[in-house]
């Protein structure tokens, strides 16, 4: 299959990680994971649970609106769950198990910054804020990261502010804090990163078609371990996956808001 674009490759790659045991929800500006949950449910994971906007369980929207936290995403839901009582108990109680987030900066351990660029007290850029990522990064065992801007400004050695918890300082840092699981992988517009099982630092799992290792190394602000052998290529989407994504999941191309 060669007729696909980078947004489609990213959505399909993420969707293939999800299973019938995935119990997920989404936050603000989360077009890529929302598309991935919907695609996975329509292809290989019909039992997957997804709460639109963290509210509307089993929603099946005809299209995705400008806000992934809005009721435009809720059509077809079997329950509108209340925020405070239902949602937060399902999240902290691990009834849900999966959350995806991104940040303006990410480090090698999958920690993210969406708070400030520069010092907190006198920021060069004030970002929207961590929102729920500081909560959900700590509460959920299966964390997925994505980035549509793989460059050294996004993937940095040291965050200006740690808004959301990934693997923390690496090693057993999360476990010592009593936190479950951790980041599983990070899908970017150049490659897929996975995490070294011991150090918990990112390393290349696969390169997107046409991307070279050197390109990823150059676009990454932290040190990457040199691959020990040939690096796999990210499997391409099938024609059917692309069709479902384009025609059924996201007919208006809302996901492209993340690729501008």
């Amino acid at each position: 299959m060669s007729d696909y674009s980078i947004d489609e490759l990213m959505v399909v790659t993420l969707a293939r990680e999800f299973t019938n045991d995935t119990r997920a929800f989404n936050g603000a500006v989360s077009f890529v994971p929302v598309c991935a949950y919907l695609l996975a449910r329509r292809t290989h994971a019909p039992e997957l649970v997804w709460a639109a906007s963290s509210i509307a369980i089993d929603a099946n929207p005809a299209a995705i609106p400008e806000s992934t936290l809005s009721d435009g995403l809720w059509n077809g839901a079997s329950m509108l769950s209340g925020s405070s009582y239902d949602f937060w108990s399902f999240a902290q109680g691990r009834r849900y198990n999966t959350f995806a987030f991104r940040g303006a900066q990410m480090d090698a351990y999958g920690n993210v910054n969406n708070t400030v660029i520069g010092p907190y007290e006198s920021p060069k850029v004030r970002l929207p804020g961590g929102g729920g990522m500081a909560d959900l990064g700590c509460m959920l065992p299966l964390i997925y990261l994505w980035s549509t801007t793989h460059d050294p400004r996004t993937f940095v050695e040291k965050l200006d502010f740690r808004s959301g918890m990934g693997w923390g300082d690496g090693g057993d840092d999360r476990a010592r804090l009593g936190l479950p699981g951790g980041p599983q992988l990070c899908v970017t517009n150049l490659c897929v990163f996975e995490f070294d099982p011991d150090s918990k630092r990112m390393r290349i799992r696969s390169l997107h078609p046409g991307v070279a290792v050197e390109q990823v190394v150059e676009a990454t602000g932290f040190e990457l371990p040199a691959p020990t052998g040939p690096v796999p290529v990210t499997p391409e989407p099938t024609a059917e996956e692309v069709r479902i994504l384009r025609e059924e999941v996201d007919p208006t191309g809302a996901r492209l808001r993340e690729f501008r």
Partner: protein, 297 residues
């Protein structure tokens, strides 16, 4: 039986209650369900030095900051989501004109719950390992359970002077219904406040609540002031009756790419119109409202 005292006030009367320097909590979440008619009225009063608490917000903070009402913002997230960043808020923080105390959603909710319950703290795992804890060493304390030794974050009370939320309907006695159910964090905002102000789409007879008591959201003794404000969440949504006005947010963000245009937009479509009806008219009136109205049955 003596007549009951009416809690019904106008938007202007309700906004008059808020003094300079007050700590106010605002309900809604992002593009949804914020008490915007009240926020606009308050902004036009040019009240000063407010501390504004909003768990996940955008346009309410934007307008209060633009009107120069705010000293400090306490929030987890301030943005206009898929439409863009909140331009006035961002500029004011970067210029050092407004302080931002960033919490996460859940630590803020826990702080409001601690205030509502009058507890010394409410525990959570939220924020462990993040830099947010370092910002708030006294209000978010890293502690360990004395028995299990598990670490947790102790979120101390955040009492509000005023809590303002938008709902579907109320009686003049102050019973309030969010129909079909409360979805956002408004319950925490209403319960943590010394004075709770509720704006509603319509005033209904008390008998409406007696006929369906299971569907009452806030009981009258927890509500101090009710205000009738049809379309009172505009330009945010009031699920399931109307959606947010995407055209408004698109043109708002677009106007803020140029200072002159931004000022024009602010005076023509936000700050200038006198009264809620004129404000709705300035943004397209009936045509706009019909375009965002939803069929509810």
């Amino acid at each position: 039986m003596a007549a009951h005292e009416s809690k019904l006030r106008t938007l202007e009367e309700a906004a008059e209650l808020i003094p300079d320097g007050a700590t106010i909590g605002i309900g809604g979440l992002s593009m949804n369900g914020a008490p915007m008619a009240f926020v606009r009225t308050l902004a036009r009063r040019r009240v000063k030095d407010l501390t504004v608490v909003a768990v996940v917000a955008g346009i309410p903070i934007e307008w209060l900051v633009a009107a120069g009402c705010v000293r400090r913002v306490v929030s987890g997230l301030v943005s206009l989501e898929g439409f863009g960043l909140a331009p006035r808020f961002r500029a004011a923080v970067q210029a050092g004109q407004v302080e931002i105390e960033e919490y996460s959603e859940h630590t803020l909710i826990c702080r409001l719950q601690a205030a509502a319950h009058r507890l010394p703290f409410v525990p959570t795992r939220a924020g462990l390992g993040t830099d947010m804890l370092g910002l708030h060493p006294t209000t978010l304390r890293l502690e360990h359970d004395p028995v299990s030794e598990e670490p947790y974050v102790a979120c101390t009370p955040l009492p509000l002077d005023f809590g303002i939320v938008h709902a579907t309907e109320a009686s003049t006695r102050g019973n309030v219904r969010v129909d079909p159910k409360l979805i956002w964090m408004d319950g925490e905002v209403a319960r943590a406040a010394a004075t709770t102000i509720v704006t509603v789409e319509r005033i209904v007879p008390e008998a409406t609540f007696v006929a369906a008591p299971a569907r009452t959201t806030y009981p009258r003794f927890t509500v101090d002031v009710v205000v009738e404000a049809p379309w009172g969440a505009y330009p945010t949504s009031a699920f399931p009756r109307y959606g947010y006005d995407g055209d408004f947010f698109r043109s708002y963000v677009q106007a803020h790419t140029d200072p002159e245009q931004a000022q024009q937009f602010w005076s023509d479509r936000v700050d200038g119109p006198d009264g809620h009806g004129s404000f709705l008219d300035a943004n397209g009136g009936a045509r706009t409202l019909l375009s965002i109205a939803r069929r509810t049955s």
